[in-house]
């Protein structure tokens, strides 16, 4: 039926059979994701630079760890050299796989263009999440796959063989992705209240860089700092999926981390709802 109408109206759309099979309410979000994917293709240099970036960073991080471990008398308890190399490679790949555009909402709020989204019968959160997922799909195909392929060959990293690791990834990655999306979303909504939000984003980037586990795994932080790290959402974004996938954490500890991820996702979800409502009340006069 979809196809017939599409033919008749000469709106071919994208012939993804999956979309047609979805219920109408969900279809729109799937379409958003696909459009957003397609949009990325317009930027050819972004693609090449992106792959180059990913490989460069993995190369640098693994080199750094090797250099540091060469200075050590004996490896620390948390990771041997092989372990930390695998962690560095997969942490970077997880990071690439979660690439999100966190400034588009900020831009819309500042320019007032958000009004156009608000006169549509859909959830702004859902729309942004779909767009974000579309970009992520693009990064999967164009950056994650080549970077992963080269890494397996060149950087002494191997994919885990046990199905448990893959199962844990399948749960922890989406939760981590969602947490990251909602943290970005909450920081973006600050633009409703503040003219200039650069410092907030700087703080977010800083905290993410340090505490997400993408550069230094959480294990290396001093004991007394760990309660702070565990009470921030960042380690559940990168560290958790990477540690579970590489098998660095398993069993009951793994389960505990996934439950914490779930709790964070729920809490942030509620925060997003509350803040969006408050933001709607805040909307400023534009053009009288």
């Amino acid at each position: 039926m979809r196809d017939a109408a599409g033919e008749a109206a000469q709106v071919p759309g994208v012939a993804w059979p999956l979309v047609g099979a979805l219920p109408p309410g969900a279809r729109v979000y799937a379409k958003f994701a696909i459009r957003s994917f397609q949009k990325q293709l317009a930027y050819k240099f972004e693609y090449f630079v992106g792959v180059f970036n990913g490989l460069l960073f993995i190369f640098i991080f693994t080199s750094l760890w090797r250099a540091i471990y060469a200075n050590l008398e004996s490896p620390p308890a948390a990771f041997d050299l092989e372990g930390i190399t695998a962690f560095a490679v997969f942490a970077m790949i997880v990071r690439i796989s979660m690439t999100q555009d966190d400034m588009s909402t900020v831009g819309k709020i500042r320019s007032g263009a958000i009004a156009l989204d608000m006169v549509k019968p859909m959830s702004y959160f859902g729309m942004m999440l779909s767009e974000c997922l579309g970009q992520t799909m693009f990064h999967w195909f164009t950056r994650v796959i080549p970077v992963l392929a080269v890494s397996l060959l060149a950087f002494d990293a191997a994919l885990p063989r046990a199905w448990e690791n893959w199962a844990l990834l399948a749960i922890a990655w989406p939760l981590g992705y969602l947490i990251m999306f909602m943290v970005n979303y909450l920081f973006a909504l600050l633009a409703f209240w503040f003219i200039e939000t650069f410092s907030f984003h700087l703080m977010k980037y800083g905290l993410f860089t340090i505490f997400a586990g993408g550069i230094v795994p959480v294990d290396f932080f001093p004991e007394w700092l760990k309660p702070l790290i565990e009470s921030l959402p960042f380690m559940y974004i990168l560290y958790t999926p990477t540690a579970l996938f590489t098998g660095h954490i398993a069993g009951a500890d793994a389960l505990r981390l996934i439950l914490l991820q779930g709790a964070w996702a729920v809490a942030l979800g509620m925060a997003c709802t509350v803040m969006w409502r408050a933001a709607q009340r805040k909307l400023v006069v534009q053009g009288g």
Partner: protein, 342 residues
């Protein structure tokens, strides 16, 4: 909903904003780091009106008079501080999503289409957003593509369209789901003469053939004169006039202006009681005609009889001049403020 009940009903609509006061100067800037003083601004003040099905209403006012605040309340983006509004039996700010199905919105200054996507892909997205049934979509799509001459544009991404083409696509995008009401915010801004004419013809047609109720805000009074049966003027947050455009012309400025070019000379005084000198230049005079002091027949006859007139133009009062006068006087012509149904 009864056919004869108003489609939009606003009662005592009021919206105030809290604005941060800031001190100026270098010292003031330092002080601002620690102060939080506020001031209240009433953007829309106790505004009431009814709009009926099929009307084409021009909503005009100076910048900052409260136009877009009103529109934001009608579209559900903004909650009023006081008063109430119903749009097709829905309170927009209480159920923004339900209201969204009933309305279409076009902002002249920005597009609702996706910048990088071909136009038809944007349309396809909107079909899903508004969950338009396939048969309805096909029909609307065909009609709009034909009426707005969209065929050659459909495969182009929006960023490659000219402003006029983009506005046509935006208009189609706002109508694809068959809304009852269309809000247009300066739909002709920045358009060249040809594109503006086309846009007006299309809006007229949409109002007449599809029966869509249209609320248009613009600074271009030619838009209003060409399109709107009814005009609502907002001034400093209050309605200064609400009634038919014809009545506005009839009641508020009765004075036509005569532009007379004389042969060779230019008389000191034109001795016709109904005419009053406005301006003299070269062998031309601009005269104001007062219909109470004589019929047009009498005046013209006297003019041609008593003077050597080479050429003549008679300028009708323009809506622009009337609206300008209302802006300048404030909400003076309150007598005409009762709503008029089209």
């Amino acid at each position: 909903m009864n056919e004869h009940e108003p489609l939009i009903r606003a009662e005592g609509l009021t919206r105030t904003f809290r604005v941060e006061e800031s001190l100026e100067g270098l010292l003031g800037s330092f002080k601002n780091l620690f102060s939080t003083r506020h001031r209240l601004i009433t953007a829309v003040n106790n505004v009431s009106f009814d709009i009926h099905r099929g009307e084409f209403v021009g909503y005009v006012g100076e910048n900052g008079a409260g136009k877009s605040t009103t529109i934001k309340m009608l579209t559900g983006i903004l909650t009023p501080t006081a008063g109430r509004v119903e749009v097709a039996d829905i309170v927009p700010y209480e159920d923004r999503a339900a209201n969204a199905f009933n309305i279409g919105v076009v902002f002249g200054q920005r597009t609702q289409l996706w910048w990088d996507l071909p136009v038809r892909d944007s349309f396809d997205l909107l079909r899903s957003i508004y969950r338009v049934p396939d048969d309805l979509f096909t029909r609307n799509y065909r009609e709009l593509a034909e009426a707005l001459h969209l065929e050659p544009l459909l495969t182009l991404p929006v960023r490659k369209l000219s402003l006029g083409q983009r506005m046509r696509c935006d208009l189609a995008a706002a109508l694809l789901h068959g809304p009852k009401i269309l809000f247009l915010d300066e739909p002709t801004i920045g358009l060249d003469l040809i594109a503006k004419d086309k846009m007006r013809a299309m809006l007229r047609r949409i109002n007449q053939t599809r029966g869509v109720t249209i609320i248009l805000t613009t600074h271009d009074m030619d838009d209003i004169e060409a399109l709107c049966g009814r005009i609502m003027i907002i001034d400093k947050g209050s309605i200064a006039y609400d009634g038919s455009t014809e009545r506005l012309k009839r009641e508020h400025v009765r004075h036509k202006a005569l532009e007379v070019e004389f042969h060779d000379y230019n008389p000191e005084v034109v001795a016709i009681p109904a005419l009053k000198l406005l301006r003299r230049e070269g062998n031309k005079q601009w005269l104001r005609y007062d219909p109470k002091a004589g019929t047009m027949h009498e005046v013209i006859s006297a003019l041609f009889r008593d003077y050597c007139v080479k050429d003549l133009s008679i300028h009708e009062p323009k809506v622009e001049d009337i609206v300008k006068a209302i802006y300048e006087q404030g909400a003076a012509p309150k007598a005409g403020a009762a709503p008029v149904h089209a």
